[in-house]
Symmetry: C2
Subunit: 285 residues, 2 copies
């Protein structure tokens, strides 16, 4: 398997960006990879790990000669970067991102780029609570799913290029409407983060110590250890859908609370039965 790109620029050399460079090289890409960062220290780490071949602090200059630009920055920086790059890059250059919120970015790109649009919104569902190029891992994308924007203004050929790029690093690609993507992610990812964060604070405030907590707490709150700025940006970028998901959580808690207040054993049990079935159905779907 090969990819046709010869000069790839990865803007953002954090966990996702550095892992992408490492994955491309491990799978035999001969492309020259330029990494762009805001801090020389991260760039030095990415260079040292062999995730990128050259490094730059200037996203525009580093992208002018590229045939593929991947924006792997935190979500809030994607739209400003698109505005910077759109008027200047060659019409042949394909632009992808990796942000975990898609509706606003894709809508913006739709207005920004001339047709045939050469930006495709992507969300490779890879990551961990760790961050930074020092945690870069050539197999981070292996076996994961990459959600790809479907839109009527994207050429088949452009979508096919984006698809084969992600498949090259080991992901399985699924196309999805950006708004639907955000609604799903608000529930599958962003709401669990908020709930985990709330539980972590409540446990701390109760005065409970390490010796009193079990695997349940550790599992439920693991993602609460993620970087706060990342989750601030994701929350703000997916504000509307996340507010909807929080309302659903409140409704669910209200129903459980009301059953528990009445000591209604049947209803309390039904709540847990439905949850176990729901998890099983989601996982085996």
């Amino acid at each position: 398997m090969t990819i046709g790109f010869e000069r790839i620029t990865i803007i953002g050399v954090g966990l996702l960006g550095a892992s992408l460079g490492l994955a491309l090289k491990k799978r035999g890409s001969k492309a020259a990879i330029t990494g762009v960062g805001r801090r020389q220290e991260s760039l030095d780490t990415a260079l040292r790990l062999g995730a990128v071949d050259t490094a730059s602090l200037d996203p525009l200059e580093a992208s002018l000669e590229a045939d593929l630009v991947v924006i792997a920055t935190p979500v809030q920086q994607v739209i400003p970067l698109l505005e910077l790059l759109a008027p200047r890059l060659s019409p042949q250059c394909l632009i992808l991102d990796v942000a975990s919120v898609k509706k606003d970015i894709c809508a913006h790109a739709r207005r920004l780029f001339p047709l045939p649009r050469r930006f495709v919104g992507c969300h490779p569902m890879a990551g961990s609570e760790k961050s930074g190029p020092e945690h870069g891992n050539a197999d981070l994308y292996e076996g994961t799913v990459c959600l790809l924007e479907c839109s009527d203004d994207l050429a088949e050929e452009t979508l096919a290029e984006a698809r084969s790029f992600w498949e090259f690093v080991g992901t399985r690609v699924i196309e999805m409407d950006p708004a639907q993507h955000d609604d799903f992610l608000a529930r599958t990812s962003h709401l669990p983060h908020v709930a985990a964060a709330a539980v972590a604070q409540i446990v701390h405030d109760s005065g409970a110590s390490r010796s009193m907590i079990g695997q349940g707490f550790l599992d439920v709150t693991r993602i609460a250890a993620s970087r706060a700025e990342i989750w601030r940006d994701i929350s703000l970028s997916n504000r509307e859908a996340l507010l909807g998901a929080i309302r659903e959580l409140r409704n669910s808690l209200d129903a459980f609370e009301s059953a528990l207040e009445k000591s209604d054993a049947r209803e309390v049990e039904a709540f847990f039965v439905k949850a176990a079935e729901a998890r099983h159905k989601v996982i085996s779907s």
Copy 2:
């Protein structure tokens, strides 16, 4: 290390009871272990795995000759069993339980048993989302913590016996007031279960499929796969403290929601910062 008991009866041969029998044998206890169950099938499994030496369907008869009785049933059965056993067992016999809710059980035992009381409320914090003797594991208790009731009507000697029993199977023992125990557990364990169950249902109802969910969802909701009857009983047994914990969760969600509605980046970030710090502090405490 040895334990002085010669005839141990374990009432309830589920995951905890069967693992206890296996742990005692693996660590060299020569005690004759009788397992008590409600279904012959579970008893047969426990016998086949070598978790118990003999089996019985009658908790009273099986306990009359014992010098240690461990009640390893679901929480709702503990008080009825104490009422059955208290008037009939020898004053030398030590009685322990393993229920994860303690206030009502310990208060009941205080009224039920003559002094010096020979029942000690225990909560070994071991387990998994799996259940049944077929998942019994001789190392289930190894490295875990066992919370032990502290009470002014317990003789030092009785507490010391309970403590050395749990240490024998590999736990670290911490004494705690039963009401405080229940308040802590409502937050460290029961609330995370309720939140995980709610999130699992919301994700299912959103129509999201396996390919759209990441490790975050899997981790946060793992405990939602636990047995519904167990969590029904725990919730009802720790009703008051759990209702308090749910109120705290609602307050926390309200605060986050209000910050998000205002798109208040500083407050949204502070929520996640506090959560990450809180988790870190709890884990390193």
